[in-house]
């Protein structure tokens, strides 16, 4: 295997866009995404990439322009973070419902106020129900690999939906790791040009995205639902094809490590999963039966696979770097939903933390393991714990008790 070059995940994504030979990139800068679009602008300026690069005047326009370009049949890409993603919200729904196979890199960052540019998943999770497929990268290599896979998934005739590739702000976006950049010829064998579309053919004029009655409207939604479900199959297929061609496992729906005989299984998205992997290896070396599930595809959510993977565990610790206020950790809720009706299922503990760049590191994870142990021993434990919160100034404790 070729050894990698040291680069950040943002550079890796820019290389992926170049290797995918995207035709149009419309984007607007925001930390920590900026490096992606700067690198693409430089590739284009140096003649190394043929894309039309347009720096527009807002993220709403960035996504709108990307949608329009994609509607005209070309391969289109954009990237954003946090406030930018929220600013796109109207067009997020638009992209998915218009069934344009756009790929967008979202460099996960906290949302304001208070201002914070560091990583968490509130941005991505807040777009959960827009209809986009959402993949999460654990490493810089994944950021490149998943972006390539994302085009093939999005453009698959069975799917025809936009795909968001999530990469953790700073943890991945500003950290150098060795990344293998594949040769263009090899990528071309993996990723064919986008299948032709005739939506805006002047010889055969059509009106797209018009007004429909209630009876027709639900038909569109049903088709969209089916496509998102079919993506469960396509993501696995594409992940396998990628692994075969590039000898790297960087796709699929879930990545399981040491899960089959584990008593305690951690479930997480993105770079946190990769941190947990190294903890699991350490715990295993002292005889602890712990495993980890990295959720590579958050949408579509592989509920059946999740339930099967967790069937033998006694406790699942689901780590959320986002929150649904007044409800709970979103991923924890989804894992619980996946386990509904299953006879063999673990207790689900919802670990919440790592907001605004706060660590999900050894300290937090050791505490979480103690918590899971206590639960396994049948001691009364809270089902949800926020990590890293100090006592409030008025003396109340963060768990809501007075």
């Amino acid at each position: 295997m070729t050894s990698g070059r040291n680069m950040t995940a943002t550079s890796a994504v820019a290389y992926a866009a170049r290797l995918a030979q995207v035709d149009v990139v419309a984007a607007y800068p925001i930390t920590p995404q900026t490096r992606i679009i700067e690198a693409i602008a430089k590739f284009v300026a140096d003649g190394e990439m043929k894309a039309q690069f347009v720096q527009v005047e807002s993220e709403h326009s960035a996504l709108a322009a990307t949608i329009a370009a994609s509607s005209n049949g070309v391969r289109a890409f954009t990237a954003t973070s946090s406030q930018g993603l929220l600013y796109m919200h109207e067009m997020m729904h638009w992209a998915a419902s218009a069934r344009v196979p756009i790929v967008m890199a979202n460099v996960n960052r906290a949302v304001a106020p208070p201002w914070n540019i560091y990583g968490d998943h509130q941005d991505a999770i807040s777009q959960r129900d827009t209809g986009w497929l959402q993949l999460f990268a654990e490493t810089n290599q994944h950021a490149l690999d998943m972006t390539l896979q994302a085009f093939r998934i999005a453009e698959d005739p069975r799917v025809q939906l936009p795909v968001m590739v999530n990469l953790d702000g700073f943890t991945l976006s500003h950290t150098y790791e060795p990344v293998v950049v594949p040769e263009p010829e090899v990528v071309n064998r993996f990723l064919a040009p986008r299948p032709a579309v005739d939506w805006l053919d002047v010889e055969h004029p059509k009106t797209i995205n018009g007004v429909v009655s209630p009876e027709h409207y639900i038909q569109f939604r049903a088709l969209q639902k089916d496509a998102a479900r079919r993506a469960l199959v396509v993501i696995e297929e594409v992940g396998e094809a990628f692994a075969e061609q590039f000898c790297r496992d960087s796709g699929g729906l879930l990545s399981l490590e040491q899960v089959s005989d584990a008593e305690i299984v951690f479930v997480a998205l993105g770079s946190a999963a990769s941190t947990i992997r190294s903890m699991v290896r350490a715990w295993r070396s002292v005889g602890r039966k712990v495993g980890v599930i990295s959720v590579r595809s958050y949408r579509p959510f592989p509920d059946a696979k999740m339930a099967e993977a967790l069937a033998g565990a006694r406790v699942a610790v689901v780590w959320d770097r986002a929150y649904s206020f007044g409800c709970g950790g979103p991923l924890a809720g989804e894992v619980k939903g996946a386990l509904y009706g299953r006879e063999s299922r673990p207790v689900v503990l919802s670990a919440v933390g790592g907001f605004g760049g706060a660590p999900v590191g050894p300290t937090e994870l050791e505490k979480a393991l103690e918590w899971a142990d206590a639960s396994m021993q049948g001691r009364p434990v809270p089902l949800e714990t926020w990590f890293g919160v100090k006592a409030y100034r008025d003396g109340r404790t963060p768990d809501g008790k007075e």
Binding site: V54, A64, A65, A68, A69, D201, T207, I208, N209, G210
Partner: protein
């Protein structure tokens, strides 16, 4: 019917009788011809012309969100360049979509110099949602959100002058037009198509329901607006500004306002004031020539 035998704007749309916008759409679409892609945001035209299973336009139409006409044109232009496709890209948007919610996108797209023809049909309010005020609603007008009421709360502010705002970008081609002057309108559209870079047409679009006048009188009212000197027809072509028409004997402005129920509350004092303002403006034009400086707000 074969592609080139069917009209480009087909019968059977669900617009109101006397809709100025549909008349404008027909003139514009025919002037551009079949090799175009049209972008329509949320607005009356979007509602009346794209209702499944009917389609009004016999050219490709890509509907978009309220604010996104110019950003769709941006993306389409980039994709056309990528494909080496020669096609006229047309935005067809109401005044709300243009002067209010879509202004940043429009400004950005003009500044970046993309090639497109942007048509703003101006019916002076948010008509699709029931006649609310827009930034282009003239002062004094009654709308559903400036209803007058016991306190007389009509629209208190003058309209923003979108043509001037667009002109300030140094746009290669800009024109105002009126459906009452179809030859002038058509010529301007053809000119816009020929110009490379962004082009903008601001077209008055009478709205019988929203303005409150008989639907048979749309064209007549549009003509009165020009003949009274209220709606000026001009073009700005690569920095050269030309009046397309100077009414020789101007009609009293009251003839434009009085037939519209949205102005029913205006008193004769107001009419006199409005008349004085328009007269002064035209005196300046006659003395000093037409400039965008004298294009002051109406009503």
């Amino acid at each position: 019917m074969a592609r080139n035998e069917t009209p480009l704007v087909m019968p059977g749309n669900s617009s109101c009788a006397g809709c100025g916008a549909v008349l404008i759409a027909r003139l514009v679409t025919e002037a551009i011809g079949p090799n175009q892609i049209m972008v329509i945001p949320a607005c009356c035209m979007g509602a009346v012309a794209t209702s499944f299973p009917k389609a009004t336009f016999n050219v490709p139409v890509l509907r978009t969100a309220f604010a996104s006409t110019a950003s769709f044109l941006t993306g389409l232009e980039a994709s056309a360049k990528a494909k080496g496709q020669e096609v006229t890209l047309v935005g067809f948007a109401g005044d709300g979509a243009t002067v209010d919610i879509g202004l940043a996108a429009l400004s950005g797209a003009i500044e970046r110099g993309h090639s497109f023809v942007y048509i703003c049909y101006d019916n002076e309010g948010y008509m699709n949602t029931g006649f609310q005020r827009s930034g282009s609603t003239p002062r004094g007008a009654q709308t559903s959100t400036t209803p007058g009421g016991a306190l007389g709360r009509y629209k208190a502010e003058p309209r923003k002058d979108i043509a001037k705002i667009v002109a300030a970008h140094g746009i290669p081609y800009l024109a105002t037009a009126s459906p009452a002057y179809p030859a002038d309108l058509t010529r301007k559209v053809e000119r816009a198509v020929a110009v490379k870079g962004p082009t903008f047409l601001h077209i008055m679009s009478p709205c019988p329901l929203g303005w409150g006048f008989p639907s048979a009188n749309s064209v007549e009212l549009a003509r009165t607006a020009v003949e009274s000197g209220l709606w000026k027809l001009y073009e700005l072509d690569h920095g050269v500004l030309r009046l397309s028409l100077s009414p020789k004997k101007r009609k009293p402005v009251k003839e434009f306002f009085a037939p519209q129920s949205r102005f029913a509350h205006l008193s004769d004092d107001v009419y006199e004031e409005l008349q004085r303002a328009v007269d002064e403006e035209w005196t300046t034009i006659e003395k000093e020539g037409f400039s965008l400086r004298c294009e002051t707000s109406r009503a």
